[in-house]
Symmetry: C2
Subunit: 340 residues, 2 copies
DNA sequence: TGTTAGCACTCGATTCATTGGAGTGCTAAT
DNA sequence: ATTAGCACTCCAATGAATCGAGTGCTAACA
């Protein structure tokens, strides 16, 4: 068994670089000229045979050039990739301009990512490690409806209409407001247990049913906030890369991107750990229809405990350097915008 | 010039029906057997030549069968279509189950439409003919932030955080609450003019800047609500219909569906009038990338003055009967769910 | 006069063989 | 260890041949 020496590494790198650019299998002659090794194509051929035997490259068929295998890509992104600096100015400007509302901002980010990379971009809404009730307010809208407003840590505002069978007096609402805030402020959702609920009900003097409704609303509002949403953009970019298979395959891929079920799972994965960038190559994505794709994700963090993910899906031969640096840039921008 | 008599109509109808089913150009022999007219293929050929001359059908190339032209389709949906009843039970159940929140509901509706028809579904969020302020409330969140809650006619709740440079006293907030509600309740956005604003500011005794901020927030919240959103689902269904062109064309179509700019315009069109169903065939859609598609839309109305659109995009040879009846059903369901 | 049988013709789609070229693996020479 | 050279493989592109569905037209017929 051959050993992966310096020269083989260089050749492998050259093959991958070339393939990333052209998308065509690359032959020995190309490498012979492409590198500064001054080796003849024949020598390259021998080395390539070794590299293939070691599993780093693959031949689509006899008498074609080589393309990187998943193992080859993996080696590349892990050890051989060169970081590239990114021009950030226009992005920053663009983001700031649109940053009026969180949802809007995320959608803009998604579009920006897709437009910049020519791949498909995915961005999740923030998830919360802690979900503390910051503030709570009931308001009478009309005789049969009460509006409950819940502000969660991180200034997330949720509102919920509650229908009442009987009109509720103003004073009662005032009382309930104080009561609820006293008991619930600062509590995490997980801390609102039966015990607390009982105590509130005990003190609500006959308005227990309304309290129940309200607590239901709170639970619902908060848990709903827990549902991670994924924005996507640039899905049609996938049609540009013929190596993803022409009809059936791309169709399934686009379906997965539209359906979002699988990619939501994918985006949740490793969301907690603090590795900067995650790269999934081919089957590492665990999504069947993405077996010919690579996925690169990054975690953004708004404030402590509020984080989400941004990511790119593209063909395996994507421009990893660019994608990684773009993700890093955007992540930083998100941070900065939020810090203000 | 020939005249469109009974027999020609029957033949045209047969051609269209057949083409809707198969997607293949249909020849004279097929029609000869397909209909109960007992005519030879030769006779049919003569009639078909007439129909072509009149512009109802078209030959993709010499020595191919005929396919309907836009004019042919138009005649078909206007006069020859047979209405079909739709099984509604499962839809109703499905919708009710998910109907907890408006946005959610609409998304479900979109998916349901797409799944039922195998085409692409589009649903807009509601638009408002009148946008009256129903109710308004300021609340202190912490020292530098006030939360403004605005309830618009139709129980649409908007909220907006307002940052203040100096802490604002509780009493002031109370006063502002009363002041704002007194002046603004029941007003339409269009009625909140400089005159009204001046009056409020005059009475706000030195808190004019906060009032400005609040009014800005209201304006922004309401106008934001005016932004029509379009949900889409089943876009990948478009890949199933080879007649939409294989690569370039479908790609542009999918892009338009993802971008949503053009289709939002399309959906807004005729949204006010009370025609039940609108059908746009080919270039009637005015969207370039949809020139080989048809669009069928219906208007739903939640309450007086709050309405939106649901629609289907598919190939010109879509199953119009089914699409129309599905849209009608869903529209009715939406009505009923909301009435409760 | 409307209908039909028959026939020559058109034209896209499919199939098949041919060719060219890019690339390989191996061997022998340096 | 490297390289030149050569036979070999196989895909992709090209083009000729064929097939068949469908047409238009003419002439015959009821």
């Amino acid at each position: 068994m051959a050993y992966l020496d310096e020269r083989k590494l260089k050749i492998l790198q050259a093959i991958i670089r070339n393939y990333l650019e052209t998308g065509e299998p690359v032959g020995s002659r190309t490498i012979s000229k492409f590198t500064d090794l001054n080796l003849s194509s024949a020598t390259i051929r021998n080395e390539m045979a070794d590299l293939e035997e070691m599993g780093y490259i693959v031949q689509p068929h006899t008498s074609a050039g080589r393309i990187p295998s998943d193992k080859g890509y993996r080696l590349y992104v892990d050890t051989m990739m060169e970081t590239r600096e990114q021009e950030v100015d226009e992005m920053k400007a663009l983001l700031l301009e649109k940053a009026d509302k969180m949802e809007n901002l995320l959608e803009q980010v998604t579009k920006l990512l897709a437009a910049n990379t020519n791949y498909t971009a995915m961005v999740t809404t923030p998830m919360y490690r802690s979900r503390k009730v910051k503030f709570l307010q009931l308001t009478e809208v009309d005789d049969t409806q009460i509006l409950a407003i819940i502000v969660i840590e991180g200034n997330i505002v949720k509102n919920k209409m509650i229908a009442t069978s009987v009109p509720v007096e103003k004073e009662v609402i005032l009382k309930l407001n104080i009561l609820l805030n006293t008991y619930l402020q600062g509590l995490d959702l997980s801390e609102i247990n039966l015990d607390v609920i009982q105590q509130i009900k005990m003190q609500s003097e006959g308005f227990g049913s309304i309290v129940s409704d309200i607590l239901d609303a709170i639970a619902q509002a908060i848990s709903e906030e827990d549902k991670v949403q994924v924005y996507t953009s640039g899905t049609t970019n996938m049609l540009k890369y013929p190596e993803l298979g022409d009809n059936q395959n791309v169709s399934q891929l686009l379906y997965a991107l539209e359906e979002k079920k699988e990619i939501t799972e994918l985006m949740k994965k490793d969301a907690g750990d603090n590795t900067e960038i995650q790269v999934y190559i081919g089957n590492e994505t665990t999504v069947e229809s993405m077996k010919d794709c690579s996925v690169v994700t990054a975690t953004y963090e708004l404030t402590d405990g509020v984080y989400g993910k941004i990511g790119i899906v593209g063909p395996k031969r994507m421009d990893y350097e660019k994608v990684v640096s773009t993700l890093k840039t955007i992540r930083t921008q998100l941070d900065e915008i939020y810090k203000k």
